[in-house]
């Protein structure tokens, strides 16, 4: 029973309530850093660390933090973890850190993270909060990697830096430039809409058949 609950929270974030594709949160870092798959992984990893860490702390202190100043408290906790992530990336992978540039500090303003603290971590016990954060961060990472991979393959003909096509491949440069980010995410959302539309249609059909049968 208990294990199922945690599992449920985890899966919810990855698919049914995917932060990017379903809730459309955390768009700014999402679009800005996904011009290559490796940047997407670094960004997703940093977000995972910050989200899990701050969810854990917020949930641990949820009875201590006064209601009136909770938002400021959340933000200070988040900013602390972002600072740690920023300096860790600088020490471990300076090249990626340079490419991500100002977008690492900007994780603070990612509405996904503050949203999870307000909606979940400040109300539920620590274990559930950590699993919720893990699920949400995994969903975010999944979205980042799929977007980053699509843009890198189309715009550069590579994936994680390895060439995929022969010399004749003509890169579709606009995909790694800013407009490509908007267009790719737009098309992916379109696909999700279509998927949902088909599912609703199917469910309506089933209901219809059941009604006429009985």
């Amino acid at each position: 029973m208990k294990k199922n609950e945690s599992y449920e929270e985890f899966v919810k974030g990855v698919w049914r309530d995917n932060p990017v594709f379903v809730q459309v949160l955390g768009m700014c870092p999402m679009l800005a850093v996904t011009n290559s798959a490796i940047n997407a992984v670094a960004m997703g990893g940093a977000t995972l660390f910050v989200l899990v860490g701050s969810s854990f702390l917020v949930s641990l202190f949820r009875h201590v933090i006064p209601k009136q100043v909770r938002i400021s408290c959340f933000i200070i906790i988040i900013a602390t973890f972002v600072t740690i992530a920023d300096y860790t990336l600088l020490a471990l992978v300076p090249k990626v850190h340079k490419e991500l540039g100002a977008f690492i500090p900007l994780i603070v303003a990612n509405c996904l993270i503050l949203g999870r603290q307000e909606a979940f971590a400040s109300r539920y016990p620590t274990r559930l909060a950590v699993f919720d954060a893990l699920g949400m961060a995994a969903g975010f990472l999944l979205a980042l990697i799929s977007l980053g991979a699509i843009r890198e393959i189309l715009g550069d003909g590579k994936l994680f830096g390895f060439s995929l096509f022969s010399q004749n491949f003509e890169p579709w440069i606009v995909m790694i430039l800013p407009p490509g980010g908007f267009l790719t995410l737009g098309v992916i959302l379109l696909f999700f809409n279509w998927f949902k539309y088909k599912k609703d249609e199917f469910l309506a059909d089933v209901a219809e058949a059941e009604r006429s049968g009985s």
């Binding site: 933000i75 600072t83 900007l106 603070v108 980010g181 267009l183």
Partner: protein, 192 residues
Amino acid sequence: MDNLLWIFISALLVNNFVLAYFLGLCPFLGVSNSLETSARLGLATTFVMLVTAVCAWVLNTYVLIHAPYLRLICFIVVIASTVQFIEMLIKKLSPALFRAMGIFLPLITTNCAILGLAIFATNRGYGFVEGIVYALGAGIGFTLALVLLAGLREESELSDIPKLIQGTAMNLIIAGILSMAFMGFAGLFSTS
């Protein structure tokens, strides 16, 4: 003077905060359904950006040279409290303006364009005047992008669009085309 003009045009058009840096996308997609509200939000954001630029400069010059690792926490706390303070001030001084800006003022705290402005200005080592010009350009650029999208969305309400495309997907594709148009400004200053 040339330098200042370049900073302004760059923040306004070439490196538009929304369409080239993807900053402030939440209000960009969320609030841009009517022309009037987006103009007001743009106004409020520009105002907060100006104040933030001044605060960031003061912090950078007098406080953060002693403790650079506190930069992020300092910025976010100062921005949040400044927005709160401005809100109270406007409410007291000009209730009409307060009503016009409405709910947007508190929401601006979580707008990444504001924090982005402070960080970019610091990274590039802008001075006091440069910072203000940069904030002005970025704020007006943000307003421009918001108003453009709102105009297009108001138009699209009247036209016959497949149900599947309506909503965020269409807004993103419109934004992509706008962004492509703004890329044309990249050649604006390269020759001079």
